[in-house]
């Protein structure tokens, strides 16, 4: 009897230890696998979600973790990524075919026995899902880039054609000028046109090169600057207040973009525009207020390539905000009781070359 009790107790202890041992072992294995997945997530971010780079780097990591090799055959938008299977061992593999891509992916684990089989299947599904996500993101990014390039290209073509036409007609006018009066008239019209030509050239340059710094500076009254820009655009404005300021060309461009946005609204809705200039110790604020329709989203309008205007590029307000922030200022919009207000904040500590 006593022997039986001792035997049962020993059996209980041994079984318990075995179970605990197995649980500890499985927990360690699971933790190891989870850490591996987290490392793969970090790796994917490090390679900027590029499918090819992810597969190359992931394979290096996985070879030390019980994976013999990865193989794949991926096609999307004319891109082909291929690596043949070299191992003779049994592999986990999957294929998915869609309209714009095909993904065939496989993984050869070193060991597919016991609990490792479950973990390897788990790892494989994770890799396959990550790969699919990377390919989908890549396709979307490529489509969006082409769309943007197309929009910017047509926007530039429009400007270049006008410049070409201008040169044609100017050349004809110069050749036809017979008298001093004719020539004076040409000079007079050219003098009127210079500010607009300058704006047009800068717009084309900005679109092509994305450079805003030109080393030019505006020094003087904010009221005069606003009057000049709105006059060039043809936007009738009522201005209150004034301040003296020294700013880079970047701030000028930002203000032009905001006023152009208001001008286009004026054409669509025949709005009135009131501009208030407020001076504070560290900055100057220009409030551009209209009595038109409210904005649907006062944040999204500053997103790049977001435009509610038919055929619009969607860069103007985004660029304006970027330039102002770059120079220590800011730009935001809010709906008021009567319409919309854009607030252009210009830092008085703007770096001046």
């Amino acid at each position: 009897m006593r022997t039986d009790i001792i035997f049962l107790a020993l059996l209980f202890i041994v079984s318990g230890s075995l179970i605990i041992g197995i649980l500890v072992y499985l927990r360690k294995l699971a933790r190891g696998r989870i850490n591996l997945l987290l490392r793969l997530v970090d790796l994917n971010e490090l390679v900027d979600y590029d499918p090819k780079n992810f597969l190359v780097e992931a394979e290096k990591l996985l070879i030390s973790q019980g994976v013999e090799e990865l193989f794949y055959n991926i096609e999307y938008l004319g891109v082909v990524l291929k690596k043949e299977k070299t191992s003779s061992k049994k592999a986990l593999s999957r294929k998915v075919e869609r309209e714009d891509h095909t993904i065939e992916f496989g993984m050869v684990p070193v060991n597919m026995r016991g609990e490792r089989q479950l973990f390897n299947m788990w790892l494989f599904e994770f890799l396959f899902l990550t790969l699919r996500m990377n390919v989908a993101m890549k396709i979307k990014a490529i489509h969006e880039s082409f769309a943007r390039a197309g929009v910017v290209s047509s926007f530039i073509k429009h400007d270049i054609k006008n410049v070409a036409q201008f040169i044609h007609i100017l050349s004809y006018n110069l050749k036809s000028a017979k008298t001093a009066e004719d020539r004076e008239k040409i000079v007079g019209y050219l003098a009127e046109s210079i500010p607009y030509l300058r704006l047009r050239a800068e717009r084309i340059m900005d679109a092509l090169e994305g450079k805003e710094e030109r080393g030019e500076v505006w020094e003087g009254s904010v009221r005069d600057l606003v009057k000049e820009i709105s006059g060039t655009l043809g936007l009738p404005v009522e201005i209150e207040g004034d301040a003296e300021i020294v700013v880079n060309r970047e701030v000028e461009i930002a203000l032009e973009n905001v006023l152009k946005n208001t001008y286009e609204k004026h054409l669509r809705e025949n709005i009135d525009c009131k501009i208030r200039i407020r001076e504070e110790p560290e900055f100057v604020e220009i409030w551009i207020e209209d009595n038109g329709s409210p904005l649907e989203d006062t944040e999204r309008i500053f997103e790049p390539f977001y435009s509610t205007k038919k055929g619009g590029v969607g860069i103007g307000l985004y660029q304006a905000k970027l330039l102002l922030r770059k120079t220590g200022g800011d730009l935001y919009a809010e709906n008021t009781d009567h319409g919309v207000r854009f607030v252009v904040r210009i830092s008085k500590n703007t770096y001046v070359k």
């Binding site: 036409q165 044609h168 019209y189 038919k310």
Partner: protein, 202 residues
């Protein structure tokens, strides 16, 4: 016709517009406009023979919408000849312009001589149309789908003719009905049917 012919340039690119004005004002009286609203203001207050239109007008410079709408209004209300001078190279823009009755469609950059000849031809056609009007003959321009049959064409032609005569008589229904050779009640029926109102009521 001895008085100076009138041209309206509708172009938002100011340097280009100035050069076009310089180019044309030696021979014609030239008006300028940057957008549809300015163009219509000028057309309301002046008799314009030919309108040179850029399709891409603010606020939609990259889209022909504003230019096409302007053309449609010109053909409905003012009967000036329209010459399109545009950077819009799409087939769609050209098709829509034709549907709206454009006289000529030129793509930038165009040789100034070509533009000049186009305007001269438009003026010539305008003169011939005026002579025909004096003889009681109206040219009505209709775009119609063949599959819709003759009814659509007939109604559109009727509508345009009535509108033209009403505008010529300053919306005097009595005079217009006499010119058209119909009873006033019949004319009122058509006004209601086509939703025709005086321009200042629209």
């Amino acid at each position: 016709m001895n008085e100076k012919r009138t041209i309206l340039i509708v172009e938002d690119d100011i340097p280009l517009r100035k050069q076009l004005k310089l180019f044309l004002e030696k021979k014609y009286e030239v008006f300028e406009a940057s957008n549809k609203k300015e163009a219509l203001d000028i057309l309301e207050n002046n008799s314009v023979d030919v309108v040179v239109v850029d399709l891409g007008l603010p606020p939609f410079e990259d889209d022909p919408q504003e230019g096409l709408e302007l053309m449609e209004i010109i053909h409905e209300r003012f009967f000036s000849k329209v010459v399109v001078l545009t950077g819009q190279k799409t087939e769609e823009a050209a098709k829509e312009s034709l549907k709206k009755g454009v006289f000529d469609y030129l793509m930038k950059p165009v040789d100034p001589e070509v533009l000049f000849q186009s305007i001269n031809r438009a003026l010539f056609f305008r003169d011939i149309e005026r002579k025909l009007e004096d003889e009681g003959i109206e040219r009505i321009f209709v775009s119609a789908k063949i599959k819709d049959g003759v009814k659509g064409v007939r109604e559109e032609a009727t509508r345009k003719l009535i509108l033209k005569v009403l505008r010529d008589t300053n919306f005097n229904v009595y005079k217009a009905s006499k010119i058209l050779g119909m009873k006033r009640e019949n004319l009122y029926y058509f006004l209601k049917k086509f939703g025709i109102k005086r321009d200042d009521e629209n």
